[in-house]
């Protein structure tokens, strides 16, 4: 029991939790933006993969780390635009389009990787983002380790929580985005374009998702592996419901999830001899299902989510 407490108060533990949470923060923010505008984006799993591949590839080709991040965001935005075109003006099934975008983005990333690097046996590595070493701040007793010895991308994720929260709740644009997911006809009556608002939000949200993927290849690891996204996108979709579509709660949800994951890794080193490793690997997925089930009854989905809107049609 004391050992568990020791883990929970250690700065290294929370630093690990935040590290694990980082891609999920990007992913949940992206997903909640899309859904706030009324569009379910199941392309997320593929957009993660595309962001991971494109960002890493750009950095490997010499674009620099931030160049890679930009390329990842652009790749995410492009696949987001595809999903947006299919689901907003064309009003096609968001479920099928999202699965299609995931299959397309994943297979295109794998194909591009294989074509660019046909014969590699071990994936080439880049010099990934290094932990920030901010004078004074990084030396703070607890917070220094948890917050200020992370990489720049984790800082960016935390900043995006604030940015997305501010835009959604403190700007006219955010009001319009929230309204377009609840009552698009009212937005149209205000003289705003539902199509432009929805498409723009899906593109922006998808760019955020791709940053989650970029974190995997450019910060958590320094190479691209097949299957490395491993359901993180789907986990984000579950966490979005858990977070009631709020950026602040998204951060809390992702952190709780990260803490749980970090905890099971430490637990694994304690009891790993008696329990098969796969049991621990299953926990994140089961936890996501549990999180979804817990809030499902009272979940307040954006009211116009999944409902295509056509001007002048009711």
């Amino acid at each position: 029991m004391m050992e568990i407490l020791d883990i929970l108060v250690s700065a290294n533990f929370w630093a690990a939790a935040l590290r694990i949470a980082t891609p999920l923060i990007f992913g949940v923010l992206g997903a909640l933006l899309c859904e706030r505008a009324g569009i379910l984006n199941l392309g997320i799993e593929g957009i993660f993969t595309a962001g991971a591949m494109a960002g890493w590839m750009a950095a490997w080709l010499g674009a620099g780390l931030w160049g890679g991040v930009l390329v990842a965001a652009l790749a995410g935005a492009s696949f987001g635009l595809l999903h947006a075109v299919l689901t907003v003006p064309l009003g096609l099934s968001q479920h099928v389009s999202g699965i299609g975008v995931t299959l397309f983005a994943t297979s295109l990333s794998y194909y591009a990787y294989r074509t660019a690097l046909p014969d590699v046996t071990s994936p080439p590595r880049i010099t990934a983002f290094q932990p920030l070493d901010i004078p004074v701040l990084s030396d703070l007793p607890f917070l220094g380790t948890v917050l200020f010895q992370q990489t720049a991308l984790t800082m960016l994720a935390l900043a995006m929580v604030v940015v997305v929260g501010f835009v959604l709740y403190r700007t006219p644009l955010g009001l319009a985005i929230r309204a377009v997911g609840d009552n698009p006809a009212a937005v149209e009556a205000q003289g705003l374009s539902v199509v432009v608002l929805r498409m723009g939000t899906v593109v922006a949200g998808s760019a955020l998702m791709a940053l989650g993927g970029a974190f995997l290849t450019m910060s958590a690891f320094d190479a691209f592996f097949f299957g490395m996204v491993n359901g993180r996108g789907w986990i984000c979709i579950a966490l979005t419901v858990f977070a009631s579509w709020r950026p602040g709660k998204a951060l809390v949800g992702a952190l709780l999830f990260g803490a749980f994951d970090a905890f099971q890794v430490r637990l694994q080193t304690e009891v790993g001899a008696f329990v098969p490793g796969q049991v621990f690997l299953m926990l994140p997925y089961l936890l996501s299902i549990l999180a979804l089930v817990m809030v499902a009854r009272k979940a307040d989905y954006p009211r116009a989510m999944l409902k295509p809107y056509f001007k002048g049609q009711r």
Partner: protein, 364 residues
């Protein structure tokens, strides 16, 4: 300006022709990634065609690859007909395969006439149970089945890995994580000498026919279609919506489970954690290409199987990555989704001076 006008009626020619055109368009678009890989495009297509249809062996490969795709395609088609989004075909397939191995690799010994139905039943039931969980979570607790079925895919695969490294590991497997081999009596017979195509194909074809009859000719089928068309209307008409969802979930999971049985009992003879190269996900594409029609699923599965087998063969010959197949499959899903517009709507070019007539039109 382009205007979409809803069609009053859809001719059968359009209903069939448009998805075929979409699939062919997706195949044609593969020229771009082939060119990007610096390979000769025409030769690549020729090699793909040869690999898929060029010999008796190629056709046997095509049919054995189509077998699981027909079943996962039916699983998706049936569920989607009721608007139950079962994206968990991959996990249900593995559950079915695991059950087949548990029953068929020595636990019971009986003649084939008993063993084969037993193995099929075990796999179908395991798949059905895998889908029952998300269905009940949806119906009782309101948890979105898309997310739960997707996440369960990962859970099942890890569970299979755990069993293959633990209790179900083959002691004679040289340390590889694989199950003990299926008993000979539990193996589905091969259809031809020295060819891999097996009796699972017959099972898949008969299942497709039964699914067609179920949907088109039975009360249950009518209820499934009614729930899918309009859930509220179905409920008001006295159709048992919850029971229909549970039924569809069980059928759908069982079909995907059968696909797993076919792969271990027809093809491989034992279970490994890389049994399926994504048959569960490809089944969704098969179902959409088929317009969710069970008989169409057979044709669509043959197309997707041809893409996989052809691309594999072409890849071995000229080194273009066989992820090309996944790319074509993904492109055909998007193409058929878009092409649906041409079935439902008449596309008109409208001059700027002409007034839009009906209020129902969509202007894009």
């Amino acid at each position: 300006m382009i205007r979409f006008e809803p069609r009053e009626t859809v001719s059968p020619f359009l209903r069939v022709g448009v998805p075929v055109a979409a699939a062919l368009a997706a195949l044609a678009l593969a020229a771009l990634p082939i060119m990007a890989a610096g390979a000769p495009v025409l030769q690549a297509y020729a090699l793909m065609a040869k690999g898929a249809f060029g010999s008796f062996f190629a056709v046997s490969e095509l049919l054995s690859r189509a077998t699981p795709l027909i079943l996962t395609g039916l699983a998706a088609a049936l569920a989607f007909r009721a608007r139950l989004w079962n994206i968990g075909g991959e996990g249900q397939l593995y559950a079915g395969a695991l059950a087949a191995v548990a029953v068929g690799s020595g636990a019971i010994s009986a003649p084939p006439a008993v063993m084969i139905p037993l193995v099929l039943l075990a796999g179908a039931m395991a798949g059905a149970m895998m889908m029952l969980v998300p269905a009940l979570l949806k119906l009782r607790l309101g948890a979105d089945e898309v997310v739960t079925t997707l996440l369960l895919n990962f859970v099942v695969l890890l569970f299979v890995q755990m069993m293959l490294e633990g209790p179900m590991k083959d002691p004679m497997g040289m340390g590889w994580p694989q199950s003990e081999p299926m008993a000979d009596a539990a193996m589905l017979p091969k259809l031809f000498d020295r060819m891999r195509v097996h009796a699972g194909l017959i099972v898949a074809l008969v299942t497709a026919l039964l699914a067609h009859i179920l949907l088109a000719r039975t009360v249950w089928g009518f209820e499934i279609r009614a729930v899918g068309e309009n859930q509220d209307a179905a409920r008001h008409a006295g159709i048992p919506v919850t029971a229909t969802f549970v039924r569809v979930a069980l059928f759908s999971g069982a079909l995907a489970g059968l696909a797993g049985v076919g792969e271990v009992a027809g093809l491989k003879g034992y279970l490994t954690a890389d049994l399926s190269p994504g048959f569960g996900y490809a089944g969704i594409v098969v179902a959409m290409l088929a317009g969710l029609s069970p008989l169409g699923v057979v044709v669509a599965a043959l197309f997707i199987a041809g893409v996989f087998v052809g691309a594999d063969s072409m890849s071995r010959a000229i080194g273009v990555s066989n992820y090309l197949a996944d790319l074509v499959v993904a492109t055909s899903l998007i193409a058929v989704l878009v092409s649906g517009l041409f079935v439902r709507f008449r596309v008109r070019l409208v001059g700027p001076g002409r007034r839009a007539s009906a209020g129902k039109d969509i202007v894009a």
